[in-house]
Structure formats: structure tokens, C-alpha cells
């Protein structure tokens, strides 16, 4: 069964460093998303991406964040200068259209 894959599963980084979280969406999907879940809290929407541009973003997705689809298969989330409060589980998701999104296993980001 096709699935969304994310790498790495766990990343530890120092405050102020840049991190790139990587995702391979399901191959025939056209919409891509990033969500995050701070420990013990809700899953929060960050951004959606379609046709090589951001289609929607939340207030969380400020100038420190960027997304990119560098080739036909990968979808990345970059955090330019990490802060302690960026520590969370980051989920990538993809969907074929106006239907359900399928989520990856997540990348646990720890900022120290």
C-alpha cells in the first residue's frame, strides 16, 4: 500500500541552526501538507502546497519556515533558525484532491 515517508524519524538540533525535514508523498498525489504536534497538544496545520506554490498557510508558518518541492518526489520543510519552541513532531501529508489526506510517520524535532 502506498504511504507517505518522512526522514529522519528524529532530529536533534541546536537553537539557531537550520533544519530541513524531508518527505516523499504518495506518488500520484497533488496536494502536500505539513502539520506539527507539540508534545501533548493538538495537531496544527502549517502549510499546504499545490502546483508548486503555497495554497494556504497558518499564522505559525512565518518567515522562518519555507517549503519546497525540489524534484518530482520530495517535499521539504525548512526551518531557517530553530527556536526551542519549534520542538515538536512534524507530520507531512498528501492527498489526491478534495479527499482525505494521508500522513507520514512524523519527524520528531528536538531543539536544544
Amino acid at each position: 500500500e502506498p504511504e507517505v515517508t518522512q526522514t529522519p524519524s528524529h532530529q536533534v538540533t541546536q537553537m539557531g541552526q537550520e533544519v530541513i525535514l524531508r518527505c516523499v508523498p504518495i506518488s500520484n498525489h497533488l496536494y502536500f501538507y505539513w502539520y506539527r504536534q507539540i508534545l501533548g497538544q493538538k495537531v496544527e496545520f502549517l502549510v499546504s502546497f499545490y502546483n508548486n506554490e503555497i495554497s494556504e498557510k497558518s499564522e505559525i508558518f512565518d518567515d522562518q519556515f519555507s517549503v519546497e518541492r525540489p524534484d518530482g518526489s520530495n517535499f521539504t520543510l525548512k526551518i531557517r533558525s530553530t527556536k526551542l519552541e519549534d520542538s515538536a513532531m512534524y507530520f507531512c501529508a498528501s492527498s489526491a484532491g478534495t479527499v482525505e489526506a494521508f500522513f507520514g510517520q512524523g519527524t520528531r524535532l528536538t531543539v536544544v
Partner: protein, 113 residues
């Protein structure tokens, strides 16, 4: 704005008994409603959705959910709970024309043998 409320942090049920996990929502326009399940150290796994049509929708692993427009609810149900159903369940909503899912705070389901 769109929002979801899951009023119960935890639901405890004995194996073999029916279970209900509650969800109410607020959204502009017609809602797209979803249930996801999260097992420990795993991602969010899609269970079922309501887009339009029959108010009772069936999903994976014997789960079903009932859409009630007047009560703005989308409760998750299963006629007979299994110990393996123990997990964290999230309700989510998306409004017409939106891409972003808004999730509830999650309900931990504990099924006792």
C-alpha cells in the same frame, strides 16, 4: 474560522462493549469531516470521512461515524470494542474551499480486556 471539540480526554470501555467517541465542530459552509487514529510512536492513520450523502459513514476496522448537521456532531462509534482499538483518536474538519484540516485535541480510547 473552523474548530473541533472533543469533550472527553479519555474514554474507557470493556472489550466487546460498544464505544462512542464524541466530536462537535464549527465551520463555514458544508463540512468535510474526518476521523484519524494515532497509535504510539506512529503517524496519523485515516479511519473514515464524511463529505456528503448518508449521515452514517463506515470506515476501517469496523468503525463508523454519524454526521448530525443540526447538532454539528460527528461521533465515532464501534459496536464491539477490541483491546487493539486502544489508541488516540482525532476528529478533524475542513470547510469548503479550505485545504487546512483543523484537529480536535484528541481522545484516548482505552479498551480493557
Amino acid at each position: 474560522a473552523q474548530s473541533v471539540a472533543q469533550p472527553e480526554d479519555q474514554v474507557n470501555v470493556a472489550e466487546g462493549n460498544p464505544l462512542t467517541v464524541k466530536c462537535t465542530y464549527s465551520v463555514s459552509g458544508n463540512p468535510y469531516l474526518f476521523w484519524y487514529v494515532q497509535y504510539p510512536n506512529r503517524g496519523l492513520q485515516f479511519l473514515l470521512k464524511y463529505i456528503t450523502g448518508d449521515n452514517l459513514v463506515k470506515g476501517s476496522y469496523g468503525f463508523e461515524a454519524e454526521f448530525n448537521k443540526s447538532q454539528t456532531s460527528f461521533h465515532l462509534k464501534k459496536p464491539s470494542a477490541l483491546v487493539s482499538d486502544s489508541a488516540l483518536y482525532f476528529c478533524a474538519v475542513r470547510g469548503t474551499g479550505r485545504r487546512a484540516l483543523t484537529f480536535g485535541s484528541g481522545t484516548r480510547l482505552q479498551v480493557q480486556p
